[in-house]
């Protein structure tokens, strides 16, 4: 009986192949039943996202199980099995455990640390459970994978820094103002991206929101969607004086906000910083504005630069996460190993205890006049001998399971002590 995972992902398979093989939920139920009916696997979970299609399974003959599973998968999706075969990877035992942990922790994702994958793995697990395809082995593997993913998220900064332009802007605002509660936002121009950035800011407590636009109706419309206030376009500099964060995204061919305008505005602010997020191309805020004291001005390229730095930061954190996962795989395998040898240890004890009890009974039957102390001494003596004899083999079994190779020792112990397999 062996655990394996086999599949293809964004790492080695092109999107054309992945989308051909991807399975939606209803089909997945059907497929799981079909695979279970084939009788080659004891347990199976199929994970299908736009970046990966993977089969996690426990089977007596993994090679055969893998081939059958993917033949059925290909038949369901109408894909030629030979085209899939080349892109398939397979991991078994410890490597399969590591792979499951890495996938759930988003270390194998296209954008490292992205949060969706854990939910997708959980869904796949729940779906397989509802099809009664999950047994004890996959159950303990997946519940542990969820715990490891949570640990990776809390103990490393893998998902901490923004990897989208709008979130990067929010993060920068926090590096300037600390908390965003009660910080006023001004939107100059209306666009999808500035709306998104404004929403993120509001989620963090920014308030109130002002919107201005050359077209008054557009300003009002956007103000409504953001529960803000529309401001006439010619009152731009008045509005600047009242806010902390400005998001600009107009289609103006020339900068709307120049150095002189901002300098005048800054005069009355008593050092309250002003943060410009300029996502317009061509830019709405003159580059010279950024050189003023207490003014921070990020254009779209600057924001991308921050995103790139954040991505590098995630890669750095991923190295720490890998080390954490290594440790967790070790722990998981050790526990699994214990689970494997415990039944043998129990039956070994039972066997020797039965022999001991039998022999003691016979001996005592031959000593009818024995004092209670003598009886006790005989009991104690026999128990001590059994424990001494058991000590070495039990220790050896535990050690071998920790070392990951309990099979041959288990067989040996069964053979030597005449235990029967359950």
């Amino acid at each position: 009986m062996a655990l394996f995972v086999s599949g293809l992902s964004h790492r080695n398979a092109p999107v054309e192949l992945r989308e051909q093989l991807a399975v939606d939920e209803d089909k997945l139920r059907e497929l799981l039943r079909d695979i279970a009916a084939a009788g080659v696997v004891r347990e199976v979970i199929i994970l299908s996202t736009c970046n990966r299609v993977e089969v996690y399974a426990v089977a007596d003959v993994p090679g055969e199980a893998r081939a059958t599973t993917f033949r059925r998968l290909c038949r369901h999706r109408g894909v030629e099995p030979s085209s899939v075969e080349a892109a398939l990877y397979t991991y078994t035992e410890g490597d399969a455990v590591r792979h499951a942990f890495r996938v759930a922790s988003s270390l194998d994702s296209m954008v490292i640390g992205e949060p969706q994958i854990l939910g997708q793995v959980k869904d796949a697990f729940a779906l397989a459970q509802s099809c009664e395809a999950v047994g004890p082995a996959l159950h303990s593997l997946f519940t542990q994978a969820f715990a490891v993913a949570k640990k990776v998220r809390t103990e490393t900064e893998i998902a901490r820094h923004a990897v989208s332009v709008s979130f990067a802007a929010v993060e920068l605002a926090k590096k300037i103002f600390a908390g965003l509660e009660g910080k006023a936002v001004l939107l100059v121009g209306a666009g999808k991206m500035s709306e998104l950035a404004a929403r993120h800011l509001v989620e963090q407590g920014a308030f109130p929101v002002y919107v201005t636009n050359r077209t008054w109706a557009r300003a009002q419309e956007m103000a409504r969607t953001l529960s803000g206030t529309a401001v006439p376009f010619d009152e731009l500099s008045t509005a600047l004086a009242a806010v902390e964060i400005v998001i600009t995204s107009t289609g103006a061919p020339e900068p709307l906000i120049g150095r002189d305008m901002v300098q005048r505005v800054m005069h009355g602010r008593r050092g309250r910083p002003l943060f410009f997020i300029d996502i317009a191309v061509p830019r709405d805020v003159d580059g010279a504005v950024g050189s003023l004291d207490d003014v921070y001005c990020y254009d779209i390229d600057d924001l991308k630069q921050v995103v790139d730095a954040n991505l590098r930061e995630r890669v750095r954190e991923a190295h720490r996460a890998e080390a954490l996962i290594d440790r967790e795989v070790g722990k998981f395998l050790a526990r699994q190993g214990d689970v494997e040898v415990i039944p043998t240890i129990v039956s070994l004890r039972e066997r020797l205890e039965a022999i001991r009890a039998g022999e003691v009974k016979r001996t005592l039957a031959r000593l009818p006049g024995a004092l209670p102390e003598t009886r006790e001494a005989i009991e104690a003596l026999s128990t001590a001998i059994v424990n001494k004899i058991l000590h070495a083999p039990i220790t050896k079994l535990r050690e071998s399971s920790r070392a990951g190779s309990p099979r041959s020792w288990l067989d040996l112990v069964h053979e030597l002590f005449g235990l029967t397999r359950r």
């Binding site: 008593r270 050092g271 004291d293 630069q305 730095a309």
Partner: protein, 266 residues
């Protein structure tokens, strides 16, 4: 006895500094915990060393510059641990402890008492208050350095180690303001007591003494910064520059006390 304890405490501060700097770069929580532990351990040893010294001398260990500097380090570390705990500013140690270590190198009490004129409770109060003020201003300096580093990161728009490990500008500006507001009254009262005491003991308030003169300059710099802050307009980068200038003059003051001949020692 106290000498051995003090040496071990200083080694402890050096270790804590190394760990705090490693934490600044690596942002590994374990490093932070170890740094805090090392700081606390060293500080406890330092406390015992100072108590032993005071017991042996039969007076507060404040009568020579090296003794006073050692006490100042002790206060700096208390403030560092307190502010870090209260504000959650986990990288503070990386900026404060190096200063404490540099101070400690000068704090080995090898020199004798300043002079026979030293006595009286008012004198201990003068020295004690000035030291607490100086300690708070060390924190003020650390806050200013952090502010300028983070400001630089945000201006150059190339996020590096400091962008990730340092807190927000607003937080750092508040730290420099509060430490100044805490340290300044102590420094002021300490100086006033010193002036009054000098008037009675040396016969004149205006006796030439390098430490006294230098400390008036430092006081003036801090007074100007505080006034600027209070009336508005002075904050952020400008306030940070002034904090650094003030600290530099303060260092000159201590240097004068340690190395130049004058009424305070040498």
């Amino acid at each position: 006895m106290h000498q051995t304890l003090l040496t071990v405490a200083i080694i402890g501060y050096v270790v804590a500094t190394g760990l705090a700097l490693a934490y600044l770069v690596q942002r590994e929580e374990l490093l932070h915990r170890l740094a805090s532990l090392a700081t606390l351990t060293a500080w406890v040893l330092h406390t015992v060393a100072l108590l032993t010294l005071a017991f042996n001398l039969g007076r507060p260990p404040l009568a020579s510059m090296p003794e006073a500097v050692s006490v100042a380090v002790w206060v700096v570390v208390v403030l560092e641990m307190w502010i870090e705990r209260r504000s959650g500013l986990s990288v503070l140690g990386a900026f404060v402890l190096p200063v404490a270590v540099v101070f400690s190198m000068q704090s080995t009490p090898t020199r004798s008492l300043i002079g026979p004129t030293l006595s009286g409770a008012w004198l201990w109060v003068h020295i004690g208050l000035a030291l607490v003020g100086i300690a708070a201003l060390v924190l003020n300096f650390a806050g200013a350095v952090m502010y300028l580093l983070q400001e630089h990161q945000l201006r150059t728009k190339r996020p590096g180690t400091f962008y990730y490990s340092l807190p927000a500008l607003a937080t750092l500006d508040r730290l420099t303001y509060r430490t100044l507001a805490l340290g300044f009254p102590f420094l002021t009262t300490g100086l006033i007591l010193g002036v009054l005491w000098a008037g009675t003991a040396w016969g004149s308030v205006f006796t030439f003494d390098p430490l006294a003169l230098s400390s008036y300059v430092a006081w003036a710099v801090y007074a100007a910064t505080l006034a600027g802050r209070a009336t508005g307009g002075w904050h952020g980068r400008r306030a940070a520059y002034f904090a650094i200038v003030g600290f530099a003059v303060l260092m000159l003051t201590l240097g004068a006390g340690l190395f130049l001949p004058g009424k305070h020692g040498g």
